[in-house]
């Protein structure tokens, strides 16, 4: 969003909060009966922008509303389960050969596109290849596969070849693998999907209306119609719910969530660990090339204060683990806490007892990220780091700051460990933002991915994450909850974070 507008949005949030401080206790203003509810229709205000609403499921999906629309229209191969493991969706089985490089993927035989055609293995492989071609726009999601060498076996099975032994194929097929009919490349016109809902022609820029697909193979959704609306302003999403204009509002501001505690007409849904603002320290740039400095920074952070200030306490303190909600994340590690004496000692061991001047980059694009930077600079001042905070424009933050500046706040939302590895922890990659390049670690990663035994592999992956926590260039100070507001009678909202939260086909509204 335009930074100016951001600031204005922030201004209105503050102003409304001040002016309507008591509004929480009053009955919410409802719009006229014309927009009223019938239990068959569920209206969702999702984060996203109506202007960026894409139609191609395989490129960049800029907003959550885009992922939600795709997940209603198309089937995916696997979905992330609430516990982080992969669950079957269109794919019913994924089985490797002994080398873990050739995977036999079986899809269900009873799925049909809206034009009546059966969904076949060829459609699935075509869709994966299309994702491979659009690698630049989907963070290289198919990078582990050799799609040219992969082949269709019969109507319901295909062979997926990986470049190296890769035991986590179920995970690689999660969430974004929207299956479209083979041969389709133009998405500016409606494309037949096989998902639980079908976009109705009624709609337009304001909202997209989805009607239940009664031919869907899965559990029959209770909702007849789901209306998805992309609303960029978090405050507007929340107000839409409170005034009865929608039934579910995704990603509402913590300030507003706090006001609604105790309001029985609405329900606050919390998804733990959904968002991180990692503090990035580039390991090939002074002074962060010295492990002692990175450790000093991690020890100087007052995590509780950051959590309470930035996320208003909605979340948990971080333990410098980049993907703490991944099922392979190490458990039972001691919590890292503030230790100024040790941090100062490390600074003087690194020859920086006299202090150092640094610039920390941040932006207003994500709520609280600028105040996080300010607070971090104050906390680091106590170990002699004089940190100047530089607030960058929101619309160029990703191109001017990510993986370019040595010290900044990054953003991660519900991404599995192996996705983070592919994008930001691959040595030599231009998007390796912390300049992480430990050959032994990378070799261990290959070894872990070639380990067929699940428990063994989890242990190896956990160990890699522990090493990264202690040696790497990230400081993860807190995890924020994702906050949604729902009408009191609404149920069936998915619990997981990341892609898991996009699959809203089972939402239902009683009463």
């Amino acid at each position: 969003m335009h930074p100016q507008l951001r600031r204005r949005s922030a201004a209105i949030v503050t102003a409304v909060a001040l002016l309507t401080g008591c509004a929480a206790t009053k009955p919410a203003v409802t719009s006229s009966p014309a927009a009223g509810t019938s239990t068959g229709t569920i209206r969702y205000a999702a984060p996203g922008s109506p202007s960026n609403a894409v139609t191609d499921p395989h490129g960049l999906l800029p907003g959550e509303s885009d992922v939600v629309r795709m997940a209603l229209t198309y089937d995916v191969l696997t979905v992330p389960g609430a516990d982080g493991s992969s669950r079957s969706r269109l794919a019913t089985a994924w089985e490797p050969d002994a080398t873990l490089t050739k995977w036999r993927i079986t899809i269900r035989g009873d799925a049909t596109f809206s034009d009546g055609r059966k969904v076949k293995a060829a459609d699935a492989l075509f869709s994966l290849r299309r994702m491979g071609k659009k690698a630049a726009e989907n963070f290289g999601r198919m990078a582990m596969f050799d799609l040219d060498a992969s082949k269709v076996i019969d109507d319901t099975t295909f062979e997926l070849v990986t470049k190296k032994p890769y035991a986590e194929v179920g995970k690689a097929l999660e969430g974004a693998t929207f299956v479209v009919p083979e041969g389709i490349d133009d998405f500016t016109k409606p494309v037949p999907g096989s998902g639980p809902f079908r976009p109705a022609s009624k709609g337009g820029a304001q909202a997209v209306v989805f009607e239940r697909n009664d031919d869907w193979w899965g559990p029959k959704p209770t909702a007849k119609v789901i209306e998805v609306r992309a609303v960029p302003d978090p405050q507007a999403r929340a107000q839409a719910l409170l005034s009865g204009q929608v039934d579910l509002a995704g990603g509402v501001p913590a300030t507003l969530a706090k006001q609604q505690e105790g309001n029985s007409a609405v329900r606050l849904l919390r998804r733990p660990g959904a968002t991180l603002y990692p503090l990035v320290m580039r390991m090939d740039t002074k002074p962060f090339d010295d492990l002692r400095v990175r450790e000093a920074v991690r020890l100087a952070l007052d995590r509780k204060q950051l959590l309470d200030t930035v996320f208003l306490g909605y979340g948990e303190i971080g333990n410098d683990l980049i993907t703490p909600k991944d099922p392979t994340s190490p458990k039972n590690l001691p919590q890292r806490t503030r230790d100024l004496a040790r941090a100062k000692q490390l600074m003087s061991e690194a020859g920086l007892a006299g202090g150092i001047d640094l610039t920390l980059h941040t932006t207003t694009a994500y709520p609280g990220m600028d105040s996080a930077a300010t607070l971090i600079s104050q906390q680091l001042a106590e170990i002699g780091m004089k940190v100047k905070v530089s607030v960058e424009p929101a619309d160029t933050y990703f191109s001017a700051v990510y993986a370019r500046k040595p010290f900044y706040l990054s953003y991660l939302g519900g991404i599995p460990f192996l996705d983070v590895v592919r994008v930001t922890l691959t040595p030599g990659s231009p998007t390796n933002e912390t300049a992480w390049k430990d050959p032994a670690w990378s070799a261990d990663l290959d070894k872990a991915l070639a380990e067929p035994d699940d428990a063994e592999r989890r242990a190896l992956l956990a160990d890699l994450q522990t090493q990264l926590r202690d040696q790497g260039g990230y400081a993860i100070w807190a995890l924020s909850d994702r906050l949604d507001l729902a009408k009191a009678g609404l149920s069936g909202v998915p619990e997981g974070i990341g892609f898991a939260s996009a699959f809203i086909d089972q939402v239902s509204l009683d009463g």
Binding site: M1, H2, L5, R8, S9, A11, I12, A15, V16, L19, T20, K26, V29, S31, S32, A34, A35, A45, S49, P50, S51, N52, V54, L60, P62, A135, A136, E137, F139, F187, T188, G203, G204, A205, Q206, A207, V208, V209, E227, R229, V231, P232, D233, A236, R237, Q239, A240, S243, Q245, D395, T396, F398, S399, A400, V401, Y402, A403, T424, S429, P430
Partner: protein
């Protein structure tokens, strides 16, 4: 009619100049649509390929001429981010923005007239109060106006909903309750701004000797207003109307975003942030065309409204 032809040519040149300026401004911003698509996580090679696919590697003037010829033939191209035709994006949103700007105009025109009249010819106390109101109102950011309107008309009095989720597939003018607050958010500062410009013109006319003379002859204020003042301010007022309308069309971004409407303003702001040049160009030039058309109409109408102005 050479006069009309000249005015037409001038309007056309103005629009072309505006489109060049808009194009150069967008090009001067750091980053481009390929950066936006890569989300900061694409390699330089991938970005280069995206740029080539979108024609962003071509020289600036070629890209501009390409867009211009597209617009002239009625095909302003497709969004670089979503791939959707610009014409479709604009058509889907034009109704909302026209309804919003129209409602705002319907409020701000009489309000501008009332405020500017009260500011120069009301009783002394009223005059100073109205002038203060005009200065404050013209300086208030829309976001603050919106917050105040939501606090009073929605939270406290419950007249209107605090945001405007237009029902899918329903024309916006069918839901005046949802347009009220965003339209007032646009109209109130616009009326104050308009009055700030118009009150001077009215004061000038009131100071003319023949108006004084009419006052001394005992003509009623209404007669003076209609017979002597209105014809003199009609020309500047029409020009002001054109500028106000352009401002309302171009200024809907904040109101649309705050109230959750998908309109042209929100489209423009988002397109600027993603460097979606074909969309920026087309929406901005549409807003410019409204101003230019308004000014053209005002210029053409001026001699008729005030015959003396045509004479040297």
């Amino acid at each position: 009619m050479p006069r009309l032809a000249r005015a037409l040519v001038r309007s056309g040149l103005l629009l072309i100049a505006a489109s060049v300026v808009i194009f150069l401004c967008t090009a001067a911003l750091p980053g481009d649509a390929a950066d936006a698509l890569g989300g900061g996580r694409a390699t330089p090679e991938e970005l280069a390929r995206l740029r080539a696919e979108q024609g962003l590697d071509r020289p600036l003037h070629i890209r501009y001429l390409d867009w211009l010829s597209g617009v002239l033939t009625g095909e302003p191209g497709a969004s670089l981010i979503t791939g959707r035709p610009v014409a479709e994006l604009v058509a889907q949103r034009a109704g909302v923005t026209v309804a919003l700007a129209g409602a705002a105009l319907a409020v701000s025109v009489p309000l501008t007239a009332a405020l500017s009249w009260a500011a120069v010819s009301g009783p002394r106390r009223l005059r100073s109060a109205v002038n203060a109101l005009i200065v404050a109102g013209a300086a208030l950011p829309q976001a603050v106006v919106a917050a105040a309107l939501v606090a009073w008309l929605s939270a406290a009095w419950g007249w209107f909903p605090p945001v405007s989720m237009l029902p899918a597939g329903e024309p916006p003018w069918r839901r005046p309750d949802l347009l009220a607050l965003p339209a007032l958010t646009l109209a109130l500062p616009a009326a104050a701004y308009g009055a700030a410009l118009l009150r001077g013109a009215i004061a000038d006319v009131l100071a003319r000797p023949y108006v004084r003379d009419a006052e001394l002859r005992g003509l009623s204020p209404v007669t003076i207003g209609l017979r002597y003042v209105l014809p003199m301010v009609a020309a500047p007022a029409t020009r002001l109307l054109a500028v106000l309308l352009g401002g309302l069309v171009a200024g809907t971004a904040v109101a649309e975003t705050l109230f959750g409407l998908a309109g042209l303003g929100e489209l423009l702001v988002t397109a600027i942030s993603t460097r979606d040049v074909p969309v920026v160009q087309s929406v901005a030039i549409l807003a410019a065309a409204v101003v230019v058309a308004g000014l053209f109409a005002a210029d053409t109408a001026a001699p008729r409204l005030h015959p003396k102005a045509a004479r040297p």
